[in-house]
């Protein structure tokens, strides 16, 4: 076992995949000598050269479109969009091109787009958004959002080997976090499977990405108050693993869905709707969503904390729900 950061395992995974497969190609702004804004690709240009670790101009739309073309041509590009907020510039290429290639044109498109969502660093409204909802439900796109290092590695391998466009979320608060991992990297995981990150019978918390980290901490706190929380870590948002969700909800009868982004129109709404459709009679209590405020992410620390789910707010929401009559 070793103790390494999320950043480190992503980097090792990229390196291993690039060693394994000559067609894995990295592209993005300042990913070469700078190593990426969050340092994830640091050192890779020295190993693989500037052809396979391509610094690009600041052109999110073209980066994405070029990667799609390269994927159809025969590469397995892994691109980095420096902050998820900038993916807004690539929406056309992702929705109108990447997502249509297989179902309409019959063309595989093995593309991975890595990008960090999330607030918590005071970066302000255009560097802190969690915009996975834009792509959630777009037929033809997959979305992966791991919350720990082993999963991140296995799923990144799975994403790179998948023949479909995958948006791979690396929450910026995960990067510096340390995790216990095996001495060698795990094997690739198939996309689309949630996992029970913690067992419990009183209430289910459903979360993904950094919110799972907070949910697990909340569960620990609540265990001391004798509330046993089951935490479902979605890991993949699209396709969504409804089966695992329903099994947990049917067992506990109470469910809290945690989402960092604003409440309205979030992914939590879809999860809630599916639970209500398929497990209505198992529910002791209406499904609860705990999400960000319906406001842009502000930069001031006090505002930012107030507008985003926190350990305290999740713990309280879960406890309220567990104890509700």
């Amino acid at each position: 076992m070793r103790n390494i950061t999320f950043t480190q395992i992503i980097r090792e995974t990229l390196e291993a995949e690039m060693q394994r497969d000559q067609t894995v190609l990295l592209m993005g702004e300042d990913i070469g000598i700078y190593g990426g804004a969050f340092g994830v690709t640091r050192g890779l240009i020295e190993i693989f050269g500037k052809e396979r670790v391509r610094d690009t101009p600041i052109t999110e739309q073209a980066i994405t479109g070029i990667a799609i073309g390269a994927a159809v041509g025969g590469q397995r590009p892994v691109i980095e969009i420096m902050f998820m907020d900038f993916i807004t510039l690539a929406v056309d290429q992702l929705i109108n091109m990447a997502a249509k290639l297989h179902p309409i044109y019959g063309q595989p498109c093995p593309l991975v787009l890595r990008t960090p969502p999330g607030a918590g660093r005071g970066y302000g409204a255009t560097h802190s958004q969690s915009l996975e909802r834009i792509f959630f439900g777009v037929p033809g796109l997959k979305i992966v959002a791991p919350s720990d290092a082993e999963d991140a590695s296995a799923l990144l391998q799975g994403a790179i080997r998948d023949n479909n466009p995958v948006i791979f979320l690396e929450h910026k608060l995960l990067y510096p976090m340390r995790f216990q991992v095996g001495d060698t990297l795990p094997g690739p995981s198939e996309l689309g499977k949630a996992k029970i990150a913690r067992r419990g019978e009183d209430i289910t918390i459903i979360a993904w990405s950094y919110m799972t980290v907070l949910a697990l901490r909340a569960a620990e706190q609540l265990a001391q108050e004798d509330i046993q929380v089951e935490v479902v870590d979605l890991r993949t948002l699209a396709p969504l693993d409804t089966e695992t969700i329903l099994a947990s909800v049917k067992a506990t009868g109470r469910v809290l869905i945690v989402e960092e982004a604003p409440l309205t129109g979030g992914i939590a709404a879809e999860i809630a709707a599916r639970i209500n459709e398929a497990a209505f009679e198992y529910l002791d209590y209406p499904v609860k969503r705990h999400a960000g405020a319906d406001l842009p992410v502000p930069s001031a620390k006090n505002l930012e904390s107030a507008c985003t789910p926190s350990l305290e707010s999740i713990t309280k929401a879960a406890s309220d729900l567990a104890l509700a009559e």
Partner: protein
């Protein structure tokens, strides 16, 4: 490509497009289509310059390019009929078909959408050293989309084997080139990025073929991208039902007098490459080919819902 064969393809395209316009009028096909009447020699001129391994992308107005590269007219037309034999199994329609086996990387309904895509295909060609050149066809209107400049810059920085071939047909829908482009010479934009920019007569088959061949060869040798602006004219309306209020009938009539397919035909006869009876035979043959295509479309089974539902993701 022999000149007779080139002529056959031009005629095939013309016939295909006219037939489609008729089918729409008769309500026998659905959706929309953008025909390339007047731009056929350009399509064939480009195709004639390419190697089989080369990759072409196009736009909403792509039937001509596809047929010029050797597409089966029945399978292309079947997309308009929504039939299972279509290149996209009836799911795509006129603007969304692809056949990578003949180096045709697709029509695209988003103006400018295929520009970075083609650039990516060129990137793959460079990485895998396949000797392939990517040919990205698009219009004067599309050249205004910022992604053209983004892509061209990267192609130039990385010396990618790609030609951006602009069909400047005078209009983007109703917008005359001079009203859409502050500088109506698209080729000038290449200079801004130190890329060769060439402007040619897009209706002159041989000029197009030679120019494309020359620059494709250079690109193949690792000398990077070029922008080739082909001046042409869209004789048809923008899409079905276009009342063409933005230009005069007189302008159109004058353009028809210079119909490039007719001009090419005359050249063949003058140069004794084909006799009048050979021309007539080709005309009959293409007309029959298109007629058969229509029949095949009508007899083909409908698009399959089942199959479509199971096709969302690639295995």
């Amino acid at each position: 490509m022999l000149l007779q064969e080139a002529y056959r393809r031009m005629l095939l395209i013309r016939n295909f497009e006219e037939t489609i316009e008729k089918l729409f009028l008769e309500g026998r096909v659905m959706g929309t289509a953008h025909t390339c009447i007047g731009q056929e020699t350009l399509s064939v001129g480009v195709a004639a310059a390419l190697q089989p391994c080369d990759a072409m992308t196009t736009t909403h107005r792509g039937h001509g390019h596809f047929l010029a590269r050797g597409a089966d007219p029945a399978r292309a037309m079947a997309e308009l009929f929504g039939k299972s034999i279509g290149y996209s199994k009836g799911r795509g329609g006129s603007q969304m078909m692809m056949d990578s086996s003949i180096g045709f990387y697709g029509a695209n309904g988003i103006t400018g959408g295929s520009i970075p895509f083609a650039t990516g295909i060129a990137l793959d060609a460079q990485m895998r050293k396949t000797g392939r050149v990517a040919i990205c066809m698009f219009g004067d209107g599309a050249s205004n989309q910022g992604v053209f400049h983004e892509s061209l810059n990267m192609a130039a920085l990385w010396n990618l084997p790609i030609l951006y071939v602009i069909e400047n047909n005078g209009y983007a829908m109703s917008t005359a080139t001079v009203r859409g482009l502050a500088n109506p010479c698209v080729a000038d934009r290449a200079a801004a990025l130190k890329v060769p920019g060439i402007r040619i007569d897009g209706n002159d088959f041989e000029e197009v073929r030679e120019c494309v061949r020359h620059h494709a060869d250079k690109a193949r040798q690792g000398k990077g991208p070029a922008v080739i602006e082909c001046l042409t004219y869209r004789l048809s309306g923008h899409s079905r039902g276009d009342p063409r209020v933005y230009r005069s009938r007189e302008e159109e009539e004058n353009a028809w007098k210079k119909d490039p397919v007719k001009t090419f035909e005359k050249t063949l006869i003058e140069r004794k490459i084909a006799s009048e009876s050979e021309i007539e035979l080709i005309q009959q043959q293409t007309a029959q080919q298109i007629e058969e295509a229509v029949q095949r479309c009508e007899q083909a089974p409908e698009a399959s819902l089942d199959e479509f539902q199971n096709s969302l993701f690639s295995p």
